[in-house]
Amino acid sequence: MESKIQTQPVKLSKEDFESDQMVKWCPGCGDHAILRSVEAVFPVVGEKLNLNKEDFVVVSGIGCSSRFPYYMNTYGIHGIHGRAAALATGIKVANPKLNVWMISGDGDSMAIGGNHFIHVARRNVDITYLMFNNRIYGLTKGQYSPTTFKGQKTKTSPQGVFEQPFNPGELVIGSRGKFFARVVDTNPKLMQKVFIEAAMYRGASIVEILANCVIFNNKIHGDITGRDTKADNQLILEAGKPMIFGKENNKGIVLDGTRLKVVTIGEDGVTEDDILVHDPTTEDAGIHMMLASMMTPEFPVALGVIRATPFQTLNDAVWESVEHEKEVSPYKNVDDLLNSGNTWEID
């Protein structure tokens, strides 16, 4: 494997990753906040993983979110609609030393790129996958996406959407994905914390970002992100901590039979000891799936790292196989191969 990567420690700063290109997202778009958070975490990730600024690669598909690589000063490639996961797979497997970030949206990932989405999760390619979910097609100006709610009127659903939406977390876990997290574009602190955890996780770390499209789907996540409602509608998960939330910090999640249930601590004899403690590392996806599925108004929406289970990455598996084959193969070079098997000499 070729390596041009220097190994001496480097001190990186946010400015190292800021681009000189004009950012052309609409004023008020949630994507601006995400960009600032990503710029802020690259130096941290670089330090933790001992990377140079040249080791970061940002890959995207098509859509508003996918303009992202142009707005970062890194190696980057803006691909074709839905195919960023395949691009990222090729980059990471070809050179596993690169730190690959993939940017996509709900249409790019869940519709045209659905096939690549489930397979990149299944393969556990070691990339960090940020999926901006604004539940609408923005760049084409307001058509429903696979995450638009049933019944919502859009330009292509004037009578309301007839279909049920995907829940990206369910799709990740259903594809045997090992990492899934969810954040909101209104909470930069949480975004940065989760992005760092996602980058440190070895495997396909898929982060759903509930992002606001100010033009075509404004406040679609309003009940989750609203100033007055967010405390009751967000459950911010932390490993090893009980699942407690609410304005009064007195609501919690318990397992009731085979289902999750919201309870109030201090009512009906419920104590803090009854509340589920979050363990993102269990291989058993049962609770993770239920957490990912929680929706308002019955439940708060789970934020933070929902699932992070250790599993061999595809790139490791491939390159371990390369090393093994180098040892056991009878062919040291292509000449050996050309001359293998049945050959004959003409004098």
């Binding site: 494997m1 890959v59 489930i118």
Partner: protein
């Protein structure tokens, strides 16, 4: 050992066709005969002809699998028109293949298989072995199934396993006919069935029994011998086109120092390339069987960005799916080799049959002005050089290259003179050194117009690529009208300038004359044979065979201008001929097209050319 061999007749060349049910092991039989032919020092070419189904309904014509080999004491370029010897394991294979047998040819049949039931399945109303319909052929009737069972009766073998080796009985008979040393094939059994010594023994016994049966029963009035071909000094092997393609890519990887990354998806008849590259991780060659054709090509583009020798392999329908992504490689000006093993189309078409009908798709099948280099391998062995050159051009010119092969040459095989990798041309990808102060993503080489390859991870060269139009030099996103026009011309001109780096078009035969036969891709062998045979008759016919189609060799106009008539022959409705009409409208072109899922035959071509000569 007493031998009853009659006269040994010496032949220049011969064609044998093995045919049976698709589960009868005819491909294996053919391959073993090819190996033996190689050891005998003959030149040869093979052509497998098999159904799309793995086990089509037993005993039916649609389930017949065939394997044809032509071998000779001189250069062999084609697997032959008609068979001198047909081995037919059942009535269906006789029915399906009789039309491919010479009028006085030899037909070996397993009489045990000519039951009423099998005759009915094949659609015979009367038994062709008895109704006189085979008069004129030398029919060798042998109870092959019975004799096979007899040969292994002392062994602890169930009936099904015993019957599986009956193909070796016929191979033994054919070995006898052509005076081959059957013992050389034993080592193959020992290798192939090494976990099952009983099967090794059974195959040996059956092969031997077939050989001795042919000998002692004097079923053949005489046997045949073909002298070794005068091949150049060197080491040789038998190679199929798909294997040669795979190895050409691996050789280009070694010569360029770039790891192979093959993103692909299984599709007939290209799958063997994915399977072969998957075996060679020791060369740091990575293959990814992606979730679909698009994932295959796109993962390769990602790997190309990361610095790999990026390849994707497919067949027609897959090329359709990859179209948009190939456009991305055009726009990002990244090296990419797209191997398209053509098959019968459109849609699913004829998956196991060959065609040359993807040329227009290769040239133009993308949105926008999206030029790529298009080249075509001319034979099974040439697939090695085709793949090597495709990789060299892709990397040195920073351009996608579509290499067209086809089902015939991909599955067919021929004798391949093994090159030394060190003797192959050098490959110098334009990789930028770290911190090059002059680097700009779309700055171009003055001669080639290629941009440079700056690999992620390299200090000082961060840049962004993508499918949006790029500004000249800087590579920034640009919607400027004049920039778009300039970049469109640059991308086209970059491809055209590849012509400065490829060999001239060669003429087989005189440089002028009455007819110039024009062909491209996998038909080379049969075209050359037809033209050589006419030339031997004193006719002024020459052949110009194209390997590069975009760009075309620089001397193309000159070659075309020296002949009274030009005829372009293709296994399609006339795609290349129309490219020629468009590119060189000053000439008049005749065309001969065939689209039956079958290769050209030498005689049909000669008939065409003779008719044209007599006009």
């Amino acid at each position: 050992m007493t031998t009853h061999k009659g006269k040994v007749v010496e032949l220049e060349s011969a064609v044998i066709r093995f045919a049976g049910d698709s589960g009868d092991g005819m491909q294996l039989t053919g391959n073993l005969f090819s190996d033996s032919t190689a050891f005998a020092g003959n030149d040869f070419a093979t052509f497998p002809d098999y159904p799309a189904e793995i086990r089509a309904p037993q005993g039916t014509v649609s389930g017949v699998s065939g394997f044809q080999i032509r071998f000779g004491a001189n250069d062999i370029h084609t697997s032959g028109d008609r068979a001198d010897v047909l081995v037919a394991m059942n009535p269906a294979s006789l029915k399906a293949n009789l039309k491919w047998v010479q009028s006085n040819g030899i037909i070996i049949v397993d009489t045990d298989a000519f039951t009423e039931k099998n005759l009915a399945k094949a659609g015979y109303e009367t038994n062709p072995l008895e109704d006189g319909s085979l008069n004129g052929y030398l029919v060798v009737q042998a109870p092959i199934s019975t004799l096979t069972k007899e040969a292994v009766k002392e062994m602890a073998l169930d009936n099904k396993s015993a019957m599986k080796s009956k193909n070796m009985f016929t191979l033994g008979m054919v070995f006898y006919m052509f005076n081959r040393d059957y013992k050389k094939t034993f080592s193959f059994f020992e290798q192939k069935f090494k976990k099952n010594p009983v099967i090794v023994e059974a195959n040996k016994k059956v092969l031997e029994a077939g050989y001795h049966f042919a000998d002692t029963l004097e079923v053949f009035a005489n046997t045949f011998k073909i002298e070794p071909a005068p091949l150049n000094k060197g080491r040789y092997r038998n190679i199929t086109g798909n294997l040669a393609t795979s190895w050409g890519i691996l050789a280009a990887s070694e010569r360029s120092g770039r790891n192979v990354f093959l993103g692909s998806y299984p599709i007939t008849p290209a799958t063997e390339i994915l399977q072969e590259i998957a075996k060679h991780k020791q060369f740091q060659a990575i293959s990814m069987q992606m979730e679909d054709e698009i994932g295959g090509v796109v993962s390769s583009i990602g790997a190309s960005f990361a610095g790999a020798l990026a390849v994707t392999s497919t067949s027609g329908p897959g090329l359709s799916l990859k179209s948009e992504a190939i456009g991305l490689a055009v726009m990002t000006e990244l090296p990419l080799v797209i191997i398209n093993v053509q098959r019968g189309g459109p849609s699913t078409g004829l998956p196991t049959k060959s065609e040359q009908s993807d040329l227009m798709q290769a040239l133009y099948g993308r949105n926008g002005e999206a030029p790529v280099v298009v080249m075509a391998a001319k034979s099974s062995a040439d697939c090695f050089y085709g793949a090597f050159e495709a990789a060299k051009v892709a990397m040195e010119h920073m351009v996608p290259v579509i290499l067209l092969t086809d089902g015939s040459i991909a599955n067919g095989s021929e004798v391949f003179k093994i090159p030394k990798v060190a003797d192959l041309p050098e490959i110098h990808p334009p990789i930028v050194k770290a911190n090059d102060p002059n680097y700009a993503p779309y700055k171009r080489d003055a001669e080639k117009l290629s941009r440079e390859w700056a690999l992620p991870g390299t200090p000082g060269l961060r840049h962004r690529l993508g499918g949006l139009e790029k500004e000249d030099i800087t590579g920034n996103v640009s919607h400027d009208p004049l920039n778009h026009q300039k970049m469109s011309y640059l991308r086209e001109e970059k491809v055209e300038r590849v012509a400065n780096y490829i060999p001239d078009l060669e003429i087989e035969g005189d440089e002028d004359g009455d007819i110039l036969v024009v062909s491209w891709g996998g038909t080379y062998g049969v075209m050359l044979t037809a033209v050589e045979e006419l030339r031997a008759e004193g006719k002024k016919v020459s052949l110009a065979h194209f390997r590069y189609i975009k760009p075309m060799p620089k001397n193309t106009t000159e070659v075309l201008s020296k002949f009274k008539k030009i005829i372009v022959c293709e296994i399609n409705l006339g795609q290349f001929v129309n490219v020629l009409r468009m590119t060189f409208p000053q000439f008049t072109y005749r065309q001969y097209n065939k689209i039956q899922g079958l290769p050209f035959m030498v005689n049909e071509l000669k008939d065409q050319f003779n008719a044209l000569l007599n006009e």
